[in-house]
Symmetry: C2
Subunit: 295 residues, 2 copies
DNA sequence: CCACCTCTGTGCATATATGCACACAAGCTT
DNA sequence: AAGCTTGTGTGCATATATGCACAGAGGTGG
């Protein structure tokens, strides 16, 4: 049913129709004129129609060939558009840009994201919050902001953004109810908000809870770290937060900051194939500038 | 500058984008999946862009691939239209139809042409009057009506239409002026209308004039036989006409019809490549029916 | 958690298409 | 007219792309 098994034949026939001779088409396509001849023969055989009138001085289109010429020239135009569109999508600042991070970082990313949106309104920024690391090499995301040990995967380009410091916080409503612990030992009697086992295993605070706080004292375990901060604000318990996140909630009081602190590295990760594109570069610039101003 | 050197790569990439896997695309295209892989690799290299995210379970389009998919699907549609349009142009009764004959036959062809126009108004009939025989194999014409010996060229399909009989005619104004010849000898004193030497050499009457009538008696030589008939009607001289042509001019009187008559075969010629098409068949039917009714 | 299955990816032999050389045909020029 | 130029068409050697077999990767289901 499919008459055009080889689209290249179409291009060859189109070139002949446009230039009028096999030789000219062959030169233009940088192939031998006999190849042009054979491709046209095979196409005509496949279509069951003569496309050209053979003339010793050149090829002249038949009515069928005229139709083919019209269609092929449209196709050629589309292809020109497509090729410019494809190269432009790499160099122009427009289209979708996918960023991924863990939900706990959303509070920190919202500000640079806003900055980026204002700088490049043509780009539709999509932030994907996901516990499981999306695969940049599968195109699931273009840029990732990750915490913990330095990612080390082939074809990933990793840049160090900052070192974030976290500490314990409690809301004033919690302190009013339970008091504020003054020593590490006193913590054992308090309630804590932590993460669900298996999720966010690499958050240092979660690991510390598992190690030093009895299971019974952990009032709430949430899978998303952003939910943890809200729970702490609402007074469900004491919890570990990045200082920069805690700053956003004036109600929160520091707890034993001189005694307890956790450091975690933040990495900016891109895939080598998308790293050089304008969009990715622009976002990386904004993110690096933002995190540099934090410290 | 031309990114798409091989349009077939586009078709292959399109199939992969549509079906999602190399294997499925390979099966659909009836080629090996490794070939599909290589063509996509080469296309991506040529474009300088990733079109697919390689996944062990299949190929997923990137943004560039999405654009390619959109363009290619449009192309695919156009191609479907084109292929149906091409086959339809053979089986449908529409479009141009080129007929060629010598000008002297126009009077005879006008009637069947009218019939054909009424039967198939979608077809634009173009009658090319030309002394030199147009080449059907070059697509200069689709149907030819020819007189004289049976055409014998390769790939030409020749059908016998009729045997036409011609005789001498004179207008009443000529007869009034010069009288009507009663014997063959009496003709020598009369004026004649004939053809220009070199043109229409195969018209039997013209040959007869050259052989039997003194050069000085030939009042007018015309290159177009249709002009000859008008000259005879206007009384410039005696001339040979097909009986069917002469019938159209009531003023004309037959001259020595029992003594002189010329027979010529009329042939319907088409090229083997266009002969089976609906348009050509339709015209051939009309012409054959018309000429059958003449005798 | 492991075995299975599908799909991708690679070296190698072969089949297919390309290029080349030459012959031929037809305008164009002188 | 006759040579010259340009372009088409064909047999043959080679280069190129295809198919094949097998390895590997990665997800799926028991």
């Amino acid at each position: 049913m499919d008459k055009f098994t080889d689209w290249q034949d179409l291009k060859v026939a189109y070139t002949v129709a446009k230039l009028g001779t096999l030789s000219a088409a062959a030169e233009h396509l940088e192939i031998h004129h006999s190849t042009v001849l054979r491709r046209i023969n095979s196409l005509e055989e496949a279509l069951g129609t003569r496309l050209f009138h053979r003339h010793a001085r050149g090829y002249q289109v038949t009515q069928a060939g005229e139709k083919l010429l019209a269609t092929a020239s449209q196709i050629d135009e589309r292809l020109m558009e497509l090729s410019t569109s494809i190269v432009a999508s790499d160099s122009q600042l427009r289209g979708k840009l996918l960023v991924t991070t863990v939900s706990g970082f959303m509070d920190m990313l919202s500000e640079p994201c806003l900055t980026f949106q204002q700088l490049h309104p043509q780009v539709q920024l999509e932030v994907i919050l996901d516990q499981k690391r999306l695969r940049l090499d599968h195109g699931q995301a273009h840029v990732a902001v990750r915490a913990g040990p330095k990612p080390d995967e082939p074809d990933y380009i990793v840049q160090h953004l900052n070192t974030l410091e976290a500490g314990l916080y409690a809301s004033s409503s919690y302190i009013k109810r339970m008091g504020i612990p003054k020593t590490l030992e006193a913590l054992q009697a308090h309630n804590f908000v932590s993460g669900v086992a298996g999720f966010n295993a690499r958050v240092p605070y979660f690991a510390w809870v598992d190690e030093h706080i009895p299971e019974t004292q952990v009032t709430l375990r949430v899978s998303e770290t952003s939910d943890a901060s809200r729970a702490i604000v609402n007074g469900l318990g004491i919890g570990g937060l990045q200082h920069d996140v805690a700053k956003r909630y004036p109600d929160l009081q520091p707890v034993l900051h001189d005694e307890l602190k956790w450091l975690s590295q933040v990495w900016l990760v891109t895939h080598v194939l998308v790293h050089r594109t304008a969009k990715v570069q622009a976002l990386c610039d904004v993110l690096k500038r933002h995190f540099a101003n934090l410290s």
